[in-house]
């Protein structure tokens, strides 16, 4: 029987600064291959992996690369704790470990044929980026597609180099709190961008990933647009240790974020107090 806690070896094949404290890690398997499902995906956007380094430990990340890409996986790593601090000291060519993917991602089958609104802020974008790559690869299967993305300042918007490509296929609505003189996007909260969005609310699916203030986006954009809670899919963040529903760190209410989530439809976790 395969040991779920035994991670596999990967190598950093590319390392890139994304923002002052965020790096993009491109990890390629060493001596193994990413298994793909019937649709050719190596993970479902919204699922997470546990990336690690022997001696430092493991931390959860939602892959940001295209799920069709079989040669590598990309993770946006914000330097925020001990594990990510160690990761930030690594260089191209260094070894890391990987296990997963775990949990349930965004229900991409359900998204087919619908308008899609994605809402995210700050460092919440990686799993949304993977979802965008998926949508773009199958663009004809979706209706109108929007990305609402907010950050503190223009330099804090991640994946800027992908924007040009994304903009050809979907509508990007970007906003920052502290604009620079050359900033052409919006200013202020993501939640103030409702009027930009033209969708059929009864045939729309929504994906969110982001910190607490995203709830405001939910109250102020998605519900006013007429989107039902059941069609709002949120990615929850919790402490993760085992990833296999045992260690109890990630629980919220009756759910395990690692095995029942991390993506939930909104009314699954709405009333949760922890």
């Amino acid at each position: 029987m395969e040991n779920s806690l035994h991670p596999k070896k990967v190598k950093i094949v590319r390392l890139e600064d994304m923002a002052s404290n965020v790096k993009l890690f491109r990890l390629a398997p060493v001596g193994w291959k990413f298994p793909a499902n019937k649709s050719g995906l190596i993970f479902t956007p919204g699922q997470f992996v546990l990336a690690g380094r022997w001696g430092a430990g493991e931390a959860p990340f939602g892959p940001a690369s295209s799920p069709f890409e079989k040669g590598f996986i990309e993770l946006g790593v914000r330097r925020v704790g001990n594990v990510t601090a160690t990761f930030h000291h690594l260089r191209e060519g260094d070894e890391m470990t990987l296990r997963g993917p775990y949990g349930n991602g965004y229900p991409i089958d359900f998204f087919q044929g619908k308008d899609v609104v994605m809402v995210t802020g700050g460092c919440g974008i990686p799993p949304i980026a993977a979802l965008i790559e998926y949508i773009i690869a199958r663009r004809e299967s979706f209706g109108r597609v929007y990305l609402l993305y907010g950050a503190l300042a223009p330099k804090d918007l991640l994946f800027r180099e992908r924007f040009e490509n994304w903009e050809e296929k979907i509508k990007l609505i970007l906003t920052v709190d502290k604009p620079t003189p050359d900033w052409k996007g919006h200013i202020g909260l993501v939640s103030e961008l409702t009027k930009e969005i033209q969708i059929d609310p009864l045939n729309t699916a929504t994906a969110m990933c982001g910190p607490g203030p995203m709830t405001a986006a939910l109250e102020n954009i998605l519900r006013p647009l007429g989107i039902a809670d059941r069609r709002i899919f949120v990615s929850e963040e919790r402490k993760m240790s085992c990833g296999i529903g045992k260690c109890q760190h990630c629980t919220t209410g009756d759910k395990y974020v690692c095995t029942d989530g991390p993506v939930f439809y909104y009314d699954q976790v709405q009333g949760n107090w922890d």
């Binding site: 029987m1 040991n3 806690l5 035994h6 022997w54 493991e58 529903g245 922890d274």
Partner: protein
């Protein structure tokens, strides 16, 4: 014909088992009964109330090395020698059976299952076994001097068929099963407990606010609980970085940092929230996940809580308040 062993012959059985296995059993140490490695078989207690730490220590140890990485070569932690736990009581056996279900649920915990596969569980019951909770072999005391073998698995049958047991008629009386405690009785209705705890979060907050002040957040209740299994994993590295150990250690959901993420946000910032979660997991989330509360009423948490919290009384209070709050129905 039942297979019977006399009490006087039990040390000989243990001595024989020691030839092929490490044998652990309940014994006295510093005024407490603990599971220890058996050196002198006459030290093994056949009658005792409960041990300090539960038998989960053998399958989910307080600290275990999951992986050892030496110069890039990864080795999985494994069981060196098969072992026997001798002298388990009913509640501890019940707890292991439930823990097997929890850790075996897919994706399973390989380390736990490996330890279980390498082990033999032998219960010793002073009272009638009735429906056996589990384990490989149970010795049921008859007439104070003989024990009847009740084998439940092939491993247990092999031991029961060894020379230390004789084919015998059991003449003596078996003591009736112990009268269930109040907590035992409450646990028969896991559904009611789950409803009451769920209800109490918003409708009987005072109990959690009070307990949040009483609980000192030491984690002892979870360590002594045979059905608590929270862990955290930590890496250690040798000075020259050539050897790394990935160790898994017991954690406790009642400790302050349990639900805290990197960056500092804590999803359960108060002791009241953490203490409530301990109950919520045992009696609500567990009930929804496995259909049964994660408590066998062993009494350890009550006995060893330095703040004197008695979960039987807490449950009683909540269920009582819950039932009083329900609209009375007249038929």
């Amino acid at each position: 014909m039942p297979r019977v062993i006399s009490q006087g012959n039990i040390p000989n059985l243990i001595t024989d088992l020691k030839k092929s296995h490490d044998v652990f059993g309940p014994m006295e140490k510093d005024g407490e009964v603990v599971f220890g490695k058996v050196e002198d078989p006459t030290n093994v207690l056949l009658r005792y109330k409960t041990t300090l730490l539960p038998p989960k220590i053998f399958f989910l140890p307080p600290e275990e090395e999951l992986f050892k990485v030496t110069n890039g070569r990864v080795q999985e932690g494994r069981v060196e020698k098969p072992f026997i736990i001798f002298g388990l009581n009913r509640k501890d056996l019940e707890a292991i059976v439930y823990l097997d279900q929890i850790m075996g649920k897919k994706p399973a915990d390989t380390f736990y299952l490996n330890r279980r596969k390498s082990s033999i569980l032998i219960g010793v019951f002073e009272e009638e076994v009735g429906v056996p909770p589990g384990g490989d072999l149970i010795l049921e005391m008859v007439s104070g001097n003989d024990y009847r073998a009740i084998a439940l698995t092939e491993k247990g049958r092999i031991i029961a068929n060894s020379e230390f047991f004789k084919e015998g008629k059991v003449d003596g009386k078996v003591a009736p099963t112990e009268t269930p405690s109040k907590l035992d009785q409450m646990l028969l209705d896991s559904e009611l407990i789950a409803q009451a705890i769920k209800w109490s979060r918003e409708n009987y907050r005072q109990v959690w606010e009070r307990l949040g002040k009483v609980c000192i957040g030491c984690g002892i209740c979870t360590y002594v609980c045979p059905l608590c299994y929270c862990t955290s994993t930590e890496d250690k590295t040798s000075f020259d970085q050539s050897v790394c150990s990935r160790c898994r250690k017991w954690d406790a959901c009642t400790l302050p940092g349990f639900a805290q993420i990197a960056g500092g946000h804590n999803f359960r910032p108060t002791q009241a929230a953490r203490y409530f979660n301990w109950f919520y997991h045992k009696f609500v989330r567990a009930y929804k996940e496995f259909g049964q509360a994660q408590c066998v009423a062993c009494g350890r948490c009550q006995k060893y809580c330095p703040a004197g919290i008695d979960i039987e009384k807490v449950l009683e209070e909540i269920i009582d308040a819950f039932q009083k709050a329900q609209p009375t129905r007249k038929f």
